[in-house]
Symmetry: C2
């Protein structure tokens, strides 16, 4: 299960609660692997039962108590094995592109509007990527190896998002003509 390994990857840098993990999966790692909080809590429970993570209950004042998870040695080993193992390329799934095949039979304006919505989403996402980049990754050549990987993942996000925006622009221009 990849979700478990994405969670363990997030736990490499810091020990986190389910709630905090869910927030990380909303940005950062979540740009490349997403999950709902329900999924995350469930996966954490299973990881704990398999002893791949340890758990510690933390009493808090002002907030509900939380349970902090940390990678165990056994978890690290499992993660290493996963990293070196088979890496599947998930086929893309995009409703909008399937809908593009239906243009002409339905209302063109409404599909144009959908492309504009998509464009807006990507613009927001790109701004977020750029913000992270400018704060932490201005000098990629001199990052430690570990950070270079994270930097490259971020670059993947930036490039793909820029490309998507360009596609939206091209499409809008062709369809509005």
């Amino acid at each position: 299960m990849s979700l478990s390994h994405a969670i363990m990857t997030a736990l490499l840098d810091e020990d986190l609660s389910g709630y905090e993990l869910a927030k990380r999966f909303d940005v950062s790692l979540g740009f490349f692997w997403s999950a709902s909080h329900q999924q995350i809590y469930k996966a954490l429970k299973q990881l704990h039962e398999s002893a791949l993570v340890s758990a510690k209950d933390i009493d808090q004042q002002g907030k509900p108590n939380k349970r902090i998870y940390a990678l165990t040695d056994s978890g690290r080993k499992d993660l290493d094995t996963w990293v070196l193992g088979e890496t599947r390329t998930k086929p893309a799934k995009d409703e909008l592109l399937v809908k593009m095949y239906n243009i002409g039979r339905s209302d063109l304006d409404q599909i144009v509007a959908k492309i504009e919505v998509r464009r807006g989403e990507h613009v927001l996402k790109l701004a977020l990527f750029r913000k992270i980049e400018s704060r932490q990754y201005l000098d990629p050549e001199n990052l430690p190896l570990r950070k270079k990987g994270v930097y490259l993942a971020l670059q993947a996000g930036i490039l793909q998002t820029e490309t998507s925006i360009r596609w939206c622009d091209d499409s809008l221009s062709l369809l509005k003509r």
Copy 2:
């Protein structure tokens, strides 16, 4: 269920059997929405029960008999409604990018090899896209509206794939330094 609508979209142009649909989902529409043959046969059965497609059994010599499905009027209506309805943006999921976060703790060479494999996949895919483009879409401005949508989906595939190749090259160059 989006798969049903992707199938109905494929049935817009021609009546197809489950087997033929599965082949379409391996290329063409499948670049943007993928499914296994088991999924497709199941969805077709349900679509038929809902009368969104009609079925006709065809006796064949030299091959097993097959069952050809066609969109019904009710199917067309359902498809129109879906096209105009809410369009979700699926969050991307890419194991390779999650693995990038693990560089440095595991064998760099093996991750570099994975990026090279990924690059090869994309090069093949791009060649396929380009072939389709050169055969059918050399003059996008003068396509009928319906075909413009398909052309734009193809362009999305081309742009995204080119971007992925560029990312692989950038990554290989940074990691090999």
